[in-house]
Subunit: 274 residues, 4 copies
C-alpha cells in the first residue's frame, strides 16, 4: 500500500518511467496501457512472422509486413533505450557505466536486444537460408511476453523442483532408445538396408515408436524385428514418457502452489484443513 502511494508521489520522471517499464505497480493506469500495448504489438509481430512465410500472403501484403516490421523495431528500440537509460534508478544498476553494462547482461535485456537485432542484421548478409533463420528469430519476441507474466518463473521453479527425477528418467530414456535402436538394427539391417542403414537411423525409429507417434516411414518387417518392436513398445512406452510426465506434473504442482499459496482453510471456522 505504502509502495503504491510512493509510486504516485511526485518523483523525477525518468524514475517514474523505470517504474512503469518494470511493472512495479500493476494497477497504475499508465503501466496497464503500456503493457497492453506492448503485448498486442508482440502478438501482432508473431502472427506477421508466421503469415509472412506463406508465399501468396507475403507477395500480396509485402508493404504491410514491411510496415509492421519497421514500426515494431522502432518501438522495441525506443523501449530498449528507455530501459537502458532509466535503469540507473534501480538500486541494482546505480553506476552509470558498470550498472548499465550489468543491466544489458540480464536475461530479459538480452531477449529485448534479440528482438531488435534480426532487423539490423538483415542489412549485412545476403545468404538466403540465413536470412530466413534471422526472420524467424523475430519469433523470440514472444519471449518478451515472459516479462509481463509469472509463467516463466513458474516454469523455472518446476524445472528446479523435478531436476533429480528428470536427470534419472532422461538417463533411462537414453538407455532405452539406444538399446531398442541396436536391437532393431541387428534384426532389420539385412532386410531393409535403406531404412536401417546404421544405429543413428534406427534411433529415429526408436524415438518415433517409443513416443507412439508412429509415422509409418520406417517399421520392422522381419518376424524377429516385429517381436523386438512389440516388446519394446509394450514396456518402453511408459518408460520413455517419464521425463515429459515428470516435468508436466511438476509444472502443474507449481501452478497450483502459486495459486493456493494463501490458504487451504475451512471457510467457516478458519481452521487449516489437512
Amino acid at each position: 500500500m505504502t509502495d503504491t502511494l510512493n509510486a504516485n508521489a511526485p518523483t523525477s520522471w525518468p524514475a517514474r518511467l523505470w517504474r512503469i517499464l518494470q511493472v512495479e505497480n500493476p494497477d497504475d493506469s499508465w503501466t496497464r496501457w503500456l503493457n497492453s500495448g506492448l503485448t498486442v504489438l508482440i502478438l501482432v509481430n508473431v502472427a506477421a512472422v508466421v503469415l509472412e512465410t506463406v508465399q501468396t500472403l507475403a507477395d500480396r501484403y509485402a508493404a504491410w509486413f514491411g510496415t509492421i516490421e519497421v514500426a515494431s523495431v522502432a518501438i522495441f528500440t525506443v523501449e530498449y533505450v528507455a530501459r537502458l537509460w532509466t535503469c540507473t534508478y534501480s538500486p541494482l544498476y546505480r553506476h552509470p557505466w558498470i550498472g548499465r553494462l550489468k543491466f544489458t547482461l540480464t536475461p530479459m535485456a538480452l531477449v529485448d536486444l534479440l528482438a531488435i537485432l534480426p532487423f539490423s542484421a538483415g542489412f549485412v548478409t545476403y545468404d538466403l537460408r540465413f536470412l530466413r533463420a534471422l526472420r524467424l528469430l523475430r519469433l523470440a519476441r514472444l519471449a518478451k511476453l515472459g516479462r509481463y507474466s509469472a509463467a516463466m518463473q513458474i516454469m523455472a521453479r518446476a524445472l528446479r523442483r523435478c531436476r533429480e527425477e528428470l536427470v534419472l528418467t532422461a538417463g533411462l530414456m537414453v538407455v532405452l532408445i539406444l538399446t531398442s535402436a541396436s536391437l532393431i538394427y541387428l534384426a532389420e539391417h539385412e532386410s531393409q538396408p535403406d531404412k536401417f542403414p546404421d544405429i543413428l537411423a534406427a534411433m529415429w525409429w526408436s524415438v518415433i515408436t517409443l513416443t507412439t507417434v508412429g509415422y509409418g516411414d520406417v517399421y520392422p518387417v522381419t518376424p524377429l524385428g516385429k517381436v523386438f518392436a512389440g516388446v519394446v513398445s509394450l514396456f518402453g512406452v511408459g518408460m520413455v514418457a517419464l521425463p515429459a510426465g515428470v516435468l508436466g506434473a511438476s509444472l502443474l504442482e507449481e501452478i497450483r502452489a502459486s495459486r493456493q499459496q494463501l490458504d487451504k482453510r475451512c471457510p467457516h471456522c478458519g481452521q487449516p484443513l489437512e
Copy 2:
C-alpha cells in the same frame, strides 16, 4: 417432500405442464414418461442424421428419414411453444412479454430453437453445401439431452475449477507448437517445399506429432529435421498433453464430488465446505 406434495396438489394445468417440462419432480409419472419419450426421440434423430449421410440408406429409406424429420420437428415445436407459453408460471419469467423474451434468451431455450430451425431454414436456401451443414446442425438436438442430465453442469464446473491451469498450459502449448513448427520449417523447407511450404503447414505437422497421432502424411526427412522432431517429441509430448490432462482430471474430480457431495465437511467445526 413438501414440494412433492405441492406438485401433486391441484394447480392450474399450464402450471402443472411447466413443472413437468422443467422436471421439477423427477418421480412424477407424467414427467418420467415425457422425459423418456423425448430422450428416445432425440437419440432416434441423431441416428437418423448420421445414417442419412450414407447414400445407399438415404436413397432406400428416404420416406422414413423424411417422416422422422417432420414428426420430430412437429413434436419439438410443440414442446418449444408449450415451454414459451407456460414459462410465465415461473417466478423468473412472470411478465407476459419481457418474461417470455428473457426466457427465449436462456441457453437451453436457444438450443431448443436451434433444434427446430434447420428444418425451416431448409426452405429458403438452395446452396448444397450450406444445406448439408444445416442438416448436420440437427445434431445439436443432442444438446437437448443436457437438460435432462446433470452432465452439462458438471462439465461447466470442471471448466471453471481448472480455468487458470488451463489458460497457462494452453499458453505453453501454443508456444511449443509455434516453436517446433518454426524449427521444422527451417530444417525441412528446402528439401520438401511441398510438405512444408510455410509455418502454417508446419503447425499441422507440429499438432499431429505432439499429440502423437502421427498420420505419416508429413514427416521430416533431413537429419537436422529428424533431430529437431526427435527432441520435440520426447519432451513436447508431455507438455502438449497438459491442457487435455488438466481438463480430464478436473472433470473426474467434479464427477466424484457430485457423487460424494454429502460428507465434505471441515473436520473441526463440521460445516459443509464450498
Copy 3:
C-alpha cells in the same frame, strides 16, 4: 483351520472330488496337481489355436493339433461331467435335478460348456467361415483360468467401483466422436468423397485420431479440415482417454486393495497410519 482338517477327514469320495474341483483347500496336494495340470492344458490349447491359424504349421503338424484337440475336449468333458455329478454335495445345489440345473446356469459352468461345445458343433456345419469362428471360440477356454485366480473378481469389483464415472465419461466420449466426425465430414466430404463418404466413415477417422493411433489411411487435406482436426486432437485426446483411464485406475486401486487389505500400520508401534 477347522475347514482344512475337515477336508482331510474321511468323507465320501464324490464329496472329496467336489472339494478338489472347487479348490476349497488350495494347499491340498491333489488339488494343486489337478489345478496345475488343467492350467497347463488350457495354455497349451490357446497356443495350439493360435498356431493352427499359421497355414504352414497347420499343414505340417495337422496330426498333433488334432490329437491336442481331441485329448483336451475329452479331459474338459470329464471335468464338466465330474462337476455336474458331484455338485449336489454343495449346499447350494443339493437337489438332484433342480440343483444340477441351477449349477449348469452359473457363469463358470457355462464357460466350461463353451469350452467343449465348439468341437461337437464342428460336426454339424460345413460353412468355412463359421467353422473358423468356431475354432477360435476355443480361445474361450482361456476364461476357464478365471476360476483358478482372483483376477476375474478383481476386474468385476473394479468395474462396479467406477460404474458411474465410466458411464458419464463414455457418454462424453460418444458426443465427442460424433461431433468431430460431423465436423470433419462437413469439411472433407467434397475433397475426398472416397475417404469421407458419410458420417459413419468419418467416425472411423474420429476414433483412430482421438485414440492417437493415427494409421494414416484417412486424414484431412483441406485447410478447414486440418484446423478442425488439430483443435479436436489437442483437446479431445484427453477426453476420449478418460473411460479407459478411469477403468485402469480403478483396476489398480482394486489390485492394491486386495493386497494390502490386512494392515497399513507402523511395524514398530502397531498404530494405524493415516
Copy 4:
C-alpha cells in the same frame, strides 16, 4: 566419518586399490579421478559403437575406431584383473580360489567380463552377422555405468515393489492382445489374406494399435473389422498401458523415496518405517 578416516589411514596398497575400485569413499580424490575417467571412457565407447555402424564414418575413421577399441579393451582388462586380484581384501571373497570364483559370478563382474569378451571372440568367428552382433554387444559396456550410480538399485527396487501389479496387469494385457488379434483375424482374414494371414500376424497389429503407435502398415478395411478395431482402441488403450504405467509410477516413487529417505517415520512413535 570414522570410515573415511580409515580409508585414508595407511593400509596395504592392494587393499587401497580395492577400496578405490569399489568406490567405498566417494570423496577420495583418487576414487573420483578413476570414476570420472572410466565413465568418460564408457561414453566414448558407446558413441564409437553407434557411429561405427555409419558406413562412411567407419571407412574414413577406421584407424580411430580401432585404436579406441584396443585401448578400451586394454584398460577394461586391467580394471577386471585388478578387481579379481584385490577382491580377496573384501570380507565376502576372502578365500584365494573360492572367494575369487564367487567374485567372478557376481552380476557386475559378469558385466565387466562381457565388456571385454566381444573383442577376443572376434578372432574366432568369421560369420558377418554374428560379428555385427558381437560388435553391438560392446554396448553392454553401458551397463558398467550401473556400478557408479544408484540407478540400477532404484530400478530393481521399483520392479520388486510393483511385482504383483505388474504380473496381473501384464496378464490382462496378454488376454487383451490375444482377444483383439483373434477378432480382427476373423473379420479381416478374407479381405486381406496377405496382411492378416494368421493370428500371430494379427497380434502384430494388436500391439501396434493398442500401444497407439499405429504405423499404418496394417489396418482393418472391412466395416466389421473397423468396428472391432474402434471398440478395442477406445477401451483397450488404457488397459494395455497399465503395466508400463505401473512400472513408471513405481520407479518415480522409488526415486522420490531414495531422495527423501530421511523423514518417513511413524507419526505416533517416531520410528522409521520400512
